[in-house]
């Protein structure tokens, strides 16, 4: 009978850019149970909604998370627009989705780099982050910010991207696709990468459903759920959208799903850049949400489905704003994948769900 030991993992740990804590109960080298602890990044920003009015609060929502910052401002704006019945101009809808997909590309490439770092492929990590800078350059050229964009506001977007500039973006993305395909070959075909990922952190389809997983984590376990296929905003203008799934449910499948989603996002941006209508980019917003009114909206963040709730009280300050973030949905699934894995695979297993702790704890 081997002895049980508890090993603390985090909050300060070399593979985690963000603090999270796991108590790993291990027998020899095998993890029997993982008990997560959260709260290291809790700021309590949902309560700030009572101190900043609904047009200012979009700046706070951007800072929920620096990686999915545009997505959160988009989700918040859509919720408040639903609350107040504001019609957003079509050009603004298209621009929002273009920025949102650019954020997804940079988020996924960033994650692939961290994963490569996690399994000890330093060169691949550096190459991924080098490639990601091209996307950040586009974001900086169009909005002025590298990670916090401040491009979205209630009623539309802050600034326009001219059609000529959109063509330039498409050309940059074409160049990026060429370089990215080479990286993709390493991620999906390289023997050492496969050796580290195949079979690691397996989660079956039934378990993934029972644990309520979302996003690429769920899609890697063959659950074809993607809010984008419901066609909110400019996604309705796409000629077709099929969520990318994989049947394997292991670390390799999660890597494959995210890797292919980057190419899908490039296609979406190129299609929308062709179809984008001319016109206004902003709708003037007046008045305040009615007392007792509430609205919800859903959005596909890079990490999965994100849910927003807002309630008005007749003043310029919202009564309540609530977010349910993808990572908080994925933590039970992650804990399940950790049971029975080797201690050395724990960092990799944690990484494969693409945890975003600042979203989770807010």
């Amino acid at each position: 009978m081997s002895q049980r030991t508890i090993i603390p993992f985090g909050p300060q740990h070399p593979v985690l850019p963000e603090p999270m804590h796991l108590d790993l109960v291990i027998e020899d080298e095998r993890v029997v149970e993982a008990i997560p602890q959260v709260g290291f990044i809790h700021r309590g920003l949902e309560k700030l909604v009572t101190k900043k009015d609904y047009t200012q609060f979009v700046l706070v929502t951007e800072r929920i998370c620096g990686i999915c910052s545009f997505g959160h401002s988009l989700g918040y704006s859509e919720t408040v627009e639903a609350l107040m019945g504001i019609e957003v101009p079509p050009r603004a809808e298209f621009l929002r989705v273009i920025w949102h997909e650019l954020s997804r590309i940079h988020s996924h490439i960033l994650w692939m780099g961290l994963l490569a770092d996690g399994f000890g492929y330093e060169n691949l990590f550096m190459q991924c982050w080098r490639l990601r800078e091209q996307v950040l350059d586009i974001l900086e050229a169009t909005t002025g910010g590298r990670v916090i964009l401040t491009a979205c506001n209630v009623g539309g977007v802050e600034q326009d991207i001219e059609n000529g500039e959109l063509n330039g973006i498409c050309q940059t993305l074409d160049g990026l696709r060429g370089e990215y395909n080479q990286l993709l070959k390493t991620f999906l075909k390289d023997k050492s990468v496969r050796h580290r990922l195949v079979g690691v952190g397996y989660l079956s389809e039934a378990d993934a459903r029972a644990a309520g997983t979302v996003g690429p984590f769920a899609r890697a376990s063959n659950i074809p759920e993607d809010i984008r296929s419901l066609g909110f905003g400019a996604y309705a203008a796409l000629s077709g959208f099929e969520p990318i799934t994989s049947k394997d449910g292991d670390g390799y499948a999660r890597c494959e799903v995210r890797a292919l989603e980057v190419l899908q996002s490039i296609d979406i941006i190129k299609e929308l850049a062709e179809k984008i209508p001319d016109g206004a980019i902003n709708q003037k917003v007046k008045g305040a949400p009615e007392d007792g009114s509430y609205a919800v909206s859903r959005l596909e963040q890079p990490r999965g489905e994100c849910f927003y709730f807002a309630k008005g009280n007749g003043t310029k300050f919202l009564e309540r704003f609530r977010i349910r973030t993808p990572t908080s949905q994925n933590i039970p699934g992650m804990v399940q994948t950790l049971q029975g894995c080797d201690l050395a695979d724990v960092p990799l297993n944690v990484l494969t769900i693409d945890p975003c702790i600042s979203c989770t704890e807010r």
């Binding site: 909050p11 700030l48 620096g66």
Partner: protein, 181 residues
């Protein structure tokens, strides 16, 4: 110039940052900005590190973690607050769980503002920090480095906004709600 500042190693801890500054810290280490060419290496071990990069404001849960990492680092050491949240609390200053900038927990040597802090600003702050590191090293060698003055750690109960205790205000609000019902 001593050998200490030729290859400073740094440790990064995310206090309660939104990730924006964290990924910019990592971006500094990767090919676009590539501070590794100056011998700067990101380490996970506080005992190996000369420079402590902190992003984000501190809260009740992580203030002791920040203090522990700082205490584990060996002298001479430099603390750099990256981003406006680490400098002062930034946009989250009014949040009930934010105790303020990193300087409420540990002494800070260099402040790098920005939201999110730009990689250029981080590199600039590190270069600034190297000067401080060299001063501290010289003082340590001469036996004149005074021990760091560590402030007493505040708790959420001490947090005040506009002169009113946040905890008291929340309790009063809750009582009012219960009374109304």
């Amino acid at each position: 110039m001593s050998s200490t500042i030729k290859s400073p190693w740094l440790i990064h801890y995310d206090a309660s940052s939104c990730n924006g500054c964290d990924i910019e810290v990592l971006a500094c280490l990767t090919p676009m900005y590539d501070v590794e060419r100056f011998g700067i290496i990101n380490t996970g071990n506080p005992k190996h590190a000369d420079i402590f990069l902190v992003t984000g404001s501190v809260n009740e849960r992580n203030i002791s973690v920040v203090r522990q990492i700082y205490e584990q680092m060996l002298e001479p050491k430099v603390v750099i607050a990256c981003g406006i949240c680490a400098c002062s609390g930034g946009i989250f200053k009014e949040c009930y769980n934010t105790l303020g900038g990193v300087d409420v927990a540990i002494p800070v040597d260099v402040y790098a503002p920005g939201c999110a802090v730009r990689p250029e600003a981080i590199i600039d702050a590190v270069v600034c920090g190297l000067g401080v590191l060299e001063e501290k090293r010289a003082a340590l060698a001469a036996g004149e480095l005074p021990p760091a003055e560590l402030p007493e750690l505040p708790t959420a109960a001490d947090k005040q906004l506009d002169g009113v205790s946040v905890r008291d205000a929340a309790a009063a609000e809750l009582h009012a709600e219960i009374r109304d019902e």
